[in-house]
Symmetry: C2
Subunit: 334 residues, 2 copies
Amino acid sequence: MAPTRWGFVSAGKISNDFKVALDTLPKEEHQVVAVAARNLESAQNFAETHNIPTAYGSYAELAAQKDIDVVYIGAIHTQHAPVTTMMLQAGKPVLCEKPMSVNSREARQMIGLAKENNIFFMEAVWSRFFPVYKKIREIIESGAVGEVKAVTACFGGNISHIPRVKERSMAGGSLLDLGIYVIQFATMVFGGEEPEDITTSGHLSDGGVDEIVTVVLKYSGNRMATLLCCMSAVVANEAYVCGTKASLKIPNFWCPTEVISPDGTHEFPLPPPEKPLNFKNSTGMRYEAMEVRRCLQEGLIESPLMTHAMSLQIAGIMDQARKVVGVVYDQDKE
Amino acid sequence: MAPTRWGFVSAGKISNDFKVALDTLPKEEHQVVAVAARNLESAQNFAETHNIPTAYGSYAELAAQKDIDVVYIGAIHTQHAPVTTMMLQAGKPVLCEKPMSVNSREARQMIGLAKENNIFFMEAVWSRFFPVYKKIREIIESGAVGEVKAVTACFGGNISHIPRVKERSMAGGSLLDLGIYVIQFATMVFGGEEPEDITTSGHLSDGGVDEIVTVVLKYSGNRMATLLCCMSAVVANEAYVCGTKASLKIPNFWCPTEVISPDGTHEFPLPPPEKPLNFKNSTGMRYEAMEVRRCLQEGLIESPLMTHAMSLQIAGIMDQARKVVGVVYDQDKE
């Protein structure tokens, strides 16, 4: 089978890590053929560092290149919708970093466009593709924890000084950056079931973004998820799946290498990176890349592990939670 | 100094453990001189097991005994208010098991009576007196975790089959039994500050009690506590104090023997019990017993570590949370 030829949008930190993750996979399967940044020099430096043949100073040039199988969008949040739209309109399949959009309205438009044109499109919720997630689902299905009654997860750190996190104009805040991880974890465990009720409590930062937020999702059958995200304090960064008989603990649940279950710890180590990473366990993005290749080969326009409906559900929960905290982005006004 | 002479109300499981805890302290300081149960035989068996001179088949007889310095009330929740009232009216200082009452109305009446008669009265929130709690306060004050922004805590297990937990008529539910521990932890860390807002989400059991509840307390300065209690699933049973620089982890926060801090683990082991215990780390009730003796010797009517105001604050939070979940006890209707 031919290699999957990737085009990269943005030469930033996450693009670096995704390239390093791709390099842990066979070269006959994944190649990066071009990188585009808003600044040509950045793109050229990235291309040189990562041995990529072509560099562009605009995303439009990448959209026009013919021999690209899929575009990876690693730009900042506010660029996700416009750049995804540009690529889908150019007929390019897209893997867009999470959050795929700033709000549900954008998400619906992007998904509508992909469906209309029958083009593969996926939100890069990389967590979902880690082997640990498969193991979690297997353990739950085995009945080893009994009936799942609760999910708890928290994610955060003191990153409130970072412009893209603190600035409202850059769609900053804890929900879009961190909350998406705890929310996607809960919706995964509860199989995409629609919550009966969403309860939010949180604080607005001086900059008008959500600094710390608790989202509680109530599900049928007396089940619930209690989720916390925070951009101003160090929290535990772990998730639990709590059953009537026992619980599963998932340290680093957004990029996990182990699940601690009643019968012991199941470990799924990551391959070491060949170049420095910016984020924790980033070589784990290899699993979502493998899924993208599989979907493209099978002619799917969405992954069954991270469907469009799942993205819309998560975006809807974030919209509702943000509204309670009082965060309004310019995109919400359109 | 003379020994503190205790009278016990109830010969149940918690009374057993409190007696075993008292036995870890010097006999010259703590003695149990009488035990009363609603059933004389139970009291006699308890007295025999624990080498207590007097046994009564009614609480009123204990209230009438002269040489008692303080009454420990280990009866079930619904008995706390009426029996505390009886003892205070008989002029006896009281240590009443938590929750001291089924609701705030009862709590206010009990506290009013104690204040009016100038008699010592304390809710047995034993957690507050563990050496770990003092260490937590010291570490926070040292600035080692930076500014405290969040508290997280969860407490629970699948105990939904136990009558006193599942029955509405026995003031069952997760808040009164388990939630009080996570709430008192948060209010301790935030120094008794009144929350700006209380948000609750939870599920009502078939029996009309709160099966699983999340309570979020919002405090000034963008701080909050996210608290979970659950009577139908196994949860992590740990608490975190989350600061801008680092966090403290407190396993078994309701009866802790260690706090894990940025500079390592601080351990405070408990003395081993001489008789079997029913509950985890119960010899730790020794610390609240020591505090009761200190308060009595100093002529205090409340402990500065667990004041009447603190009890009222916790009862108020539980009232409000229970109301949202839809739990109504008969006592709420009076």
